[in-house]
Amino acid sequence: MSNINRRKFMQLTGGAVAAAGAVGFSGFAIGGASKKVVIVGGGTAGATAAKYIRMADSSIDVTVIEPNQHYYTCYMSNEVIGGDRKLETIKFSYDGLKGHGVKVVHDMVTGIDANARTVSTKGGQKFSYDRCIVAPGIDFKYDTIEGYDETVAEKIPHAWKAGDQTKLLRSQLTAMKDGGTVIVAPPPNPFRCPPGPYERVCQIAHYLKHNKPKSKILVLDAKDAFSKQGLFTAGWKKHYGYGTDNSMIEWVNAAGGGRVSAVDAGSMSVTGEVEDFTGDVINVIPAQKAGKIAFTAGLTNDKGWCPIEGKTFESTIHKNIHVVGDAAVASPLPKSGYAANSEAKVCAAAVVAMLNGKPAPQPSYVNTCYSIITPNDGISVAMVYNYADGKINKVKGSGGLTPGYDKTTMEMRAREVGYAYSWYDNITRDIFS
């Protein structure tokens, strides 16, 4: 029986069970008495999916396999780098998930057999599943920057996966002399958290302005345009002299030679297309792709991301495997924490329905993304999405950006910072508690 036929068979038999009135027979699933879901990765998307599946149907056996004991959110980690937030405040344990009856296994998934429907780990464990949810986040295309790899990242951090890397970049900034140069090199599209590198520039500038005011930030960009660009550059002008001779921030776009092709950790220099640059602190954020296991499991397209069906997040390559979060091609949804959380809820609802022989429900998705320019100046972008014509769409007329300084007040800008913090409190509660 092919996979598609098996699905149809499940739906039909699911209906037949209901028709017979045997609803108590909820353990029904192909291949066993229980319904098993294995989730690969316990980040924002994976943890949300686990919790929401269990809340919707506690008869489903859910196992999350995640190598780390704790999760550090990438969102708000820029505030740690700027010094306004402690690393401990972005650290979460898996106790909340366990409270929902989720089994949490700390191990590294090394293989997924889509035909046998099994997941195997580095620790030699094997798990069978009826449906697998893969949420591996991102990995870096180290080979796009000569001289850069995981080892060099210990000296030239990317800090694009929160935790030790965040701490490292923060400690380099605090150790830097006043008058030093910080290089930030944002990646080409698509990548995790599109406004993130530019919020980071704000956070570093905020720290330097108040502690090392003679210092400079050189942004060497692989792009000519970026997310919330008008709002960010206006913020840089307002707070950090951008566009003047005394600007703390200089942005070199791709057309101007900003694309970094090589790094040299020994001389602390980077190679641009026009010239080389040296920095006292260098933060290179390389081009990105789906997390490693997505490649091993054959879930990626030629661009290195995982194509999915937007109603269920089921892989369009392998049946019974769903991909959520940054690794998935869920465009027009961005690769953001809010989107990952929203996608995971849609995926969870679909998985619960499908395991119970029902059609996946009609989805609804939201993205909201705050960036903090200073502790009193915040901006956001938001959008509502629906599912129609077989794909995810922006709802026309919805969403958009915070207005510019001329169209709003600093009181409202300060409120957006408050909303950013409260959003953080609420979304992390929604995911991990």
């Binding site: 009609q362 915070t402 909303y419 409260s422 409190d425």
Partner: protein, 196 residues
């Protein structure tokens, strides 16, 4: 269980076309859970700048969403969000949040200020926001147990005229300020934070 059994029967009878009927309208829960990222699980916020929306009257929530949608209520982000939903979807989400249990926030309050605030509340606010503003049947916003920073911002907007509220509310606030002086708003906030 009875309900589940019923659903099962309905499913069996309408399997062929149920997908089509439901195709364009997400369930109330599906629509509502996208709000949790900012408003907290089930609409109970743990972030002090963002209000809890669980347990309030459906009509109140519908009104507020429509005000956002039309730009009649000052906001940073909610106008942009509200425009993403049809009238039916707003009704559906409002009914869903109205059916959730309100979990009042636990906050610090100054006992003296709260006592003065209680008097002001009874005189000027209680008529529309009874039981310290915790009764859904009033079809008015919740006050007690709502986060102080949020309430403070809301009152600022009401007094600045950027939030469309009944005239009697602005009048009552003016009177409260005349009676209690500059501290009146602060006292009211301490009362709402202290109320159990």
């Amino acid at each position: 269980m009875q309900l589940t059994a019923l659903k099962g029967t309905v499913l069996a009878c309408s399997l062929a076309f149920s997908g089509a009927t439901l195709a364009d309208s997400p369930s109330a829960e599906m629509l509502s859970n996208t709000c949790f990222g900012c408003h907290g699980p089930n609409g109970n916020s743990v972030g002090p700048a963002i209000p809890s929306i669980a347990g309030m009257a459906e009509t109140y929530l519908v009104d507020v969403m429509n005000q956002y949608k039309e730009g009649a209520r000052g906001s940073t982000i909610m106008t942009r969000i509200a425009k993403g939903y049809s009238a039916e979807e707003i009704e559906s989400m409002s009914a869903w949040f109205a059916s959730q249990k309100y979990a009042p926030a636990t906050q610090m309050a100054d006992a003296g200020k709260a006592k003065a605030g209680a008097k002001l509340h009874d005189k000027y606010c209680d008529k529309c926001h009874s039981e310290a503003g915790t009764l859904a049947d009033d079809e008015a916003g919740f006050l007690a147990g709502q986060w102080t920073p949020y309430l403070k911002a809301s009152l600022t907007d009401v007094m600045a005229g950027t939030r469309d509220v009944p005239k009697k509310m602005t009048k009552a606030l003016d009177k409260a300020k005349k009676k209690g002086g500059d501290d009146a708003i602060d006292q009211l906030l301490h009362f709402y934070a202290s109320y159990k």
